[in-house]
Amino acid sequence: MLQALFSHIDYVAVTVLFCAGLYIMIARGNLLKKVIGLNIMETAVFAFIVTTGMIDGGDPPLLEQGLGPDFASPLPHALVLTGIVVAVSVTAVALALIVRVKREHGTIEFDELGEPR
Amino acid sequence: MALLALAAIGVPLAGAVLMIGPGRHSRRAAAAIVVVATAVTAGLCLLLAAHAGAAPPAGLTLIQLVPPMPIALRVDAMGALFALTVALLGVLATLHALVWLREDRRYWQYHAVLLLCMGLMLLVAFAANLITLLVGYELFSLAAFVLIVHQRSPKAFAAGFKYLAYILPASALTLIGTVLLVFHFGSIEFMPGGVLDRAIPPAAYVAWICLVLGFGVKAALFPLHGWVPDAHPAAPAPFSAVLSGVMVATGSFAMLRVLFELFGPAALGQMGVMPWLGTAAGVGVILAGVLALGEDDLKRRLAWSTISQMGYVLLAASLLDTQALAGALAHLANHAFIKGGLFFCAGAFIFSAGVHKVSELGGLAWRMPLTAVVLTVLSLALIGVPPLSGFVGKWMMGGAMAADGALLPLSVLLLGSLLAALYLWPVLAAIWSPAEDNAAVEPPARGGGDPPRLMCLALAGSALFSLLFGLAAVVTGYPLGLAVRAAAVLTGGATP
């Protein structure tokens, strides 16, 4: 059991990180903390995607150094870059909304906000 | 021939319509219309009666109610006989009514409905198939209700509702019977010898029962006669004469028509149902006779007597013997005039002497001689004293029963006549009793003399007819001759 655990350490780490982020989002009432939790989950997913591109003993996918027979696949990295852009824009919008909520409701504690009329 | 029949029906209906129009305004115009209408109808019926035997019955289809159900007319001996009775009694009743309704404001309504009834009865008489008969019969029943309740008194309404309670189920039964016949035998045209040729399905028994019960109510057959004793006293006198004379006869006429011209004597014999009808009629004769004895109100007594006399007709018919049937038909006609006359006398007593009860009749003869004489003649006729018309029918029926060796019906017939004598004798004894015995009775309301001329005419007419039909029977005799010819047609199927 332990041996399997260590061989997939990266997957385990990603799952733990993802669950932590999810827990923060659900448990914490403060809107800001929810957004933070969201970001943690996003980093977890990106980490996972990047690690899937790894090939044991593969060279980095750089053309100048001349490529060996097997090299790490560059695709996940490209995906993650776009993912990060998306994640940042979502967070920006969320924060802008939180500012407005604070201005309108005076608080950003979710349970104090009550039913928005 | 059939056109004459159509005219005979049309004239009273036209009279009824006219009555609603001009008749409503002046009493004189109303009187004229009704007299003319009845007279013309009587004339037409006389003509029809004369020709009835000669030409073969010609059919005339008026309208096609629904494909298989034409409203058609046909003149035959039996129809002509019944129509003649209706018409002549109608004339007499109208004469009587003109006097009776002198103060009544709704005279036009009475005359209109009476004419309507006459027209419908003639339709029943000349019906060529069961549907036309049914149409005439049911509309006539409803119209009769209006006349029964003419006086608008609570008692009249009670009698009227009881009458309705009897005839509505009856009409339902007749409808069921008719539909059963149509479904099982296809055609409901009246044909001498009947329609029922092939094997008799069980439904025929059900149809027979439905039709007998249906028509039995109107024919005052024993178990269904409940409404008769109540209806007569409630109805105005002239109408109760028509009621017992002809209306009850319509019931018997319709039953005879259906039994002999749809089922046919052969099938009836085969089905073996006629004894049941005979026993019911016989019990009716005896029971009605006994109850009439105890009845104090004159009109109720006469009503019971009607039930008893009608019992004779059905008793004789149930023997399926030509001569008995002829006797029955003749009695049907004669009885109409006798009982009509008796009711006219009762009406006269009420009209001029205000007397209802038999017990109050003491010594009336001396104040109302003509009415008393007519009453005596008619009573004797009813009992069946030889020279008068009552005797003719009974003699024919009695002879047939003796010939067939049917002793039980014969004994019932004789017992019936005896009972008739028993319940009529007290009436005669009362009116002829010497003056001093009933001095205690205070002078009657209105004058107390004989009724006005018109009413006397009606009385005299009915006495004359019963006398004429009695004597004429021996000579050529309308009613008897027609009856014999009709009976021959019905039973033997041999056209005269």
């Binding site: 993802f18 999810l22 989002m25 809107l31 929810k34 969201l38 989950m41 996003e42 997913v45 996972f48 995607i49 899937t52 696949s73 695709l75 996940p76 995906l79 776009t82 993912g83 998306v86 824009s89 979502v90 919008v93 969320a94 802008a96 909304l97 939180i98 407005r100 909520v101 309108e104 409701h105 906000l113 928005p116 009329r117 | -």
Partner: protein, 498 residues
């Protein structure tokens, strides 16, 4: 037609479908920030052009069947491939029509700021571009990008209304939306790890030898949960009522009409990707969708029956209708699937028209509660009639739009040998008619109680024209149901009968 066909052969038709609106959206605020009228006109022009392109694509599809396009010349397995098929045709048309209606309704939306008018137009264009891209992409990651491109303007549009609770509602919409996108990305990552490729068809081919391995099932679960949150299917629908009732009229029309449908399109795409690989397990997934759909119909209809607020009631009705679509998809018979997809089209139009009409009534009188809106039918006859017609159409009374989808789904239920579903499908329709009748009864046959109703005047043309048009289109669509169903059947057969 031949002239059209000539244009239809233009090779770069597909990318233009989403590039044009996006370009328009970008240029609009830059150039015309100060002149909203011109901005609105140009946005309208761009939307019209996109609709024309969609029609051209349809013509080409009718001409020679489904066709693809390799972005930037890269061959499919490597490059991003666009694939245009009947499902994308249907959803594209719906999207184009509804967004046209949205643009019409601009005045009501941004009564306040001039700048906001321009922003509103560009956001709508971005959303339109995102939708067009989402429907025609054949590449998994591209699907994710377009989904985000679709969701962000939606969050912004919800937040745009001056109403007090708008920002909070937007946030309530954003958080679950973001999490669902993440889940989809996670699933795509797993798929990429398994197959090394991103092109849907290619992934499907590479997955099949592996069979229903746990990793494939994990990928399916992740992606489908993500998409189902977007599609607001029963357990994951909690965000929809709040978001819709708080959002301004036209925006909630957009959300209910389109954004929710994108989730459906995503799930349908997943059928193709995971179908061959999972085989038996796919049957279980379809049954799950079926059960969730049934629950969605019941909760949606019952909740709508008890709602007091008009827009919240319509939101719950959307939940119910989404349930119908997934019941159609879950039954997997060609009739049921075609019914489901037809319902996407019809419900999109009808619900958009309904929300616009409802918005007209609510904004004009400022009253949200149905009982307060009593007697409004006489003061605002056109808007009220459009609302009533829309309600009857959603309920699925025969000649109208809702009937076509429900009839096919009901037939599919019988074909799949599950008569008990018939009760649910038609029971749902009856409940829909019940809450529809409740509103119609209140509008037309009850005496007005609140004074705003008495003083109300007819809705502005900008709100009326789109809603009346959309509802009329829905009724007409209902009458020509046979055409639509015949158009969808080939796709349904290929999807259902794999």
């Amino acid at each position: 037609m031949r002239a059209l066909a000539a244009f239809a052969d233009w090779p770069h038709l597909l990318p233009a479908l989403f590039l044009l609106p996006l370009a328009g959206a970008a240029l609009l605020p830059a150039l015309l920030r100060t002149r909203p009228a011109v901005a609105w006109a140009s946005a309208l022009a761009v939307a019209l052009a996109t609709t024309m392109l969609a029609v051209l694509a349809l013509v080409r599809l009718l001409g020679d069947g489904d066709y693809g396009y390799a972005m930037a010349g890269w061959a499919p397995p490597l490059g991003i491939e666009l694939r245009y098929d009947r499902l994308s045709a249907i959803t594209l048309l719906t999207g184009a029509l509804v967004s046209l209606a949205l643009l019409f309704a601009r005045r009501e939306m941004t009564g306040a700021g001039r700048r906001q008018a321009v922003l509103y137009c560009s956001l709508v264009l971005i959303l339109l571009g995102g939708m067009n891209g989402f429907v025609i992409t054949a590449d998994l990651f591209n699907l994710f990008v377009f989904m985000e491109l679709l969701s962000l303007p939606a969050y912004a549009l919800v937040a745009m209304s001056p109403a007090r609770g708008a920002a909070l509602a937007a946030l309530k919409y954003l958080l679950p939306g973001a999490v669902s996108s993440l889940l989809v990305l996670f699933g795509i990552g797993v798929l990429h790890a398994l197959t090394g490729s991103l092109n849907m068809a290619d992934v499907a081919v590479r997955l099949t030898p592996g069979g229903p391995s746990p990793a494939t099932v994990l990928a399916l679960v992740l992606i489908s949960v993500g998409l189902l949150v977007k599609a607001a299917l029963f357990p994951l629908h909690f965000w929809l009522p709040d978001a819709h009732s708080a959002a301004p009229g036209p925006v909630s029309a957009l959300l209910s009409g389109l954004v929710v449908k994108m989730g459906v399109v995503g799930v349908v795409r997943m059928f193709d990707v995971f179908g061959p690989a999972l085989g038996g397990a796919m049957q279980a997934f379809e049954n799950l969708l079926l059960i969730l759909g049934v629950l969605a119909i019941l909760t949606g209809a019952l909740a709508a029956l008890v709602q007091h607020e008009l827009k919240r009631m319509l939101a719950w009705s959307t939940v119910a209708n989404i349930g119908y679509i997934f019941v159609g998809l879950g039954l997997a018979g060609s009739a049921a699937v075609s019914g489901g997809i037809a319902h996407v089209f019809y419900h999109g139009l009808t619900k958009a028209g309904l929300f616009l009409a409802a918005a007209a009534l609510v904004e004009r009188t400022g009253l949200h509660d149905i009982d307060d809106l009593r007697g409004l039918g006489h003061r605002m006859p056109l808007a009220a009639t459009a609302l009533s017609a829309g309600l009857i159409a959603v309920a699925g009374v025969p000649p109208t739009a809702g009937f076509v989808g429900k009839w096919q789904i009901a037939l599919g239920a019988l074909e799949a040998g599950r008569p008990e579903l018939l009760v649910v499908v038609l029971g749902g329709a009856l409940l829909a008619l019940a809450y529809g009748m409740r509103v119609i009864n209140a509008l037309f046959f009850r005496a007005p109680v609140s004074d705003q109703v008495v003083t109300a005047s007819e809705a502005p043309a900008s709100m009326l024209v789109p809603s009346v048009l959309l509802v009329a289109l829905a009724l007409a669509g209902g009458l020509s149901g046979a055409r639509v169903i015949e158009f969808i059947l080939p796709f349904a057969e290929s999807l259902g009968g794999r």
